[in-house]
């Protein structure tokens, strides 16, 4: 995917979200760190362009909720979660770059529920690459990419990597 395609996909997701909720008042965009948080910010900007108002926006670090802390070969780095608003009764759209096993989203749901009781949680992802290990499904998908388990989907974003692209490569 090139920058244009990424932008188009986000734009479409923004429109779908607006269609679904019709109002910006009680929705909140929460990105999963790191790249999901950048995508969340972009999505919020697009929603603002259409509605004229920016939705609540936050970023969630799920490291402390991971189920593979004891197995991960590399210790994940803990970052700060930034949710500067009350999530009670909000309609939350979780944002991540790649939906794969679903385990990250499971962590994110656990983490979010520690912050309060949202009215609803939905999921938006840029890429759905399949291979779910948990019963989790995205409400908004930028692009479905069928993959094999030998492959790795790399999402690179300007904010973190200097350029926008999605590439599929073989696992080293």
């Amino acid at each position: 995917m090139d920058p244009e395609a990424i932008n188009k996909a986000l734009e479409r997701i923004a429109h779908e979200i607006i269609e679904e909720f019709k109002s910006v008042e009680d929705i909140a965009i929460i990105g999963i760190k790191n790249r999901g948080a950048y995508l969340g910010q972009r999505l919020a900007v697009k929603i603002e362009q259409i509605f004229g108002r920016k939705p609540n926006i936050g970023a969630l670090d799920i490291t402390l909720y991971r189920d593979d802390l004891t197995q991960a070969s590399e210790q994940p780095v803990v970052h700060a979660t930034e949710i500067g608003f009350d999530i009670d009764d909000k309609k939350i759209i979780l944002v991540d770059d790649v939906l794969f096993t679903g385990r990250t989203i499971r962590c994110a749901l656990d983490a979010l529920i520690d912050f309060g009781r949202p009215a609803k949680i939905q999921l938006a992802v840029l890429i759905d690459r399949g291979h779910r290990e948990l019963p989790i499904k995205a409400d908004y998908v930028g692009k479905n990419i069928p993959t094999s388990l030998k492959e790795v989907v790399e999402v690179r974003l300007k904010e973190a990597d200097g350029k926008d692209e999605v590439v599929l490569c073989e696992k080293l």
Partner: protein, 320 residues
Amino acid sequence: MTNQKNGEKKFAWAKKDLLGLEYLSKEEIEFILYTAEGFKEVTTRQIKKVPALRGKTVMNLFYEPSTRTRTSFELAAKRLSADVINISTESSSVRKGETLIDTGKNIEALKIDVIVVRHNCSGAPNILARAVRSSIVNAGDGWHEHPTQALLDMFTLKSKLGKIDGLNVSIIGDIAHSRVCRSNIWGLTKLGAKVTVCAPKILIPDGIEKMGVRITNDLDDALKGADAINVLRMQLERDLGDAFPSRLEYFKQYGITSERLEKCKKDIVVMHPGPINRGIEMSSEVADGPNSVILEQVTNGIAVRMAVLYLVTHAKREAA
């Protein structure tokens, strides 16, 4: 997010123990402070508990009385969902003559993951760390080190002034008997701060200049140009004998008062590891004044200790 990502902050924490800041690199210290930022946010939530150490057990093994450090570690462990056991040696088999290593081996046999140890002998945590596989966190040993206190001091300093590198930090008080001071010197100098120690001659230990600090016996000299001061507690319970003639005399020469602060940088940060002897190291006006961050230090202590417990627990498994 099982994918390998580029461009992310990566750092593999490899140490199973935290024995002192002397043994850590600049990068390791910075990494603990960075990790603590994440935990600081956890401590501000309504639900201040995360499952990161679920199923782990932390033991507080204290050979010296302590309330604030022990409570801080206990809260830190509980907020990580670990189980916590507190042992104070007054009521344990140590009274019956058990050696430190035997105690350690017994604790290890109980499958304790982390032992937080405070001991009156310098180096006791090092001995324990070599003897057992459990992680050892030094909560203060003799006159040697108190690494988590120095880490929380630096964390507080960084959150107040935005950086450590290039700061002028003066440590004032009983330099000779202070493990807090030693850990602070190691940490601050590694992170690029310029450290001055200030005390009456008798409370300045020989050779401290080898740690890369400036020494002065004149408080006004130590305060001039300082971005932050760390005022140590006069350890009145550790019979200091004739170290200084009287408490009042000490307060006159070395006590931090608002008159003295007026001559300092306007936003000078005043730290104290607690508990404060009001009217000996500093006046109440200063302790409760706008420059004081003493209670923030207490709050930050939990975040820093959560970071330390998290890192040592998850490091160990890699080594094993």
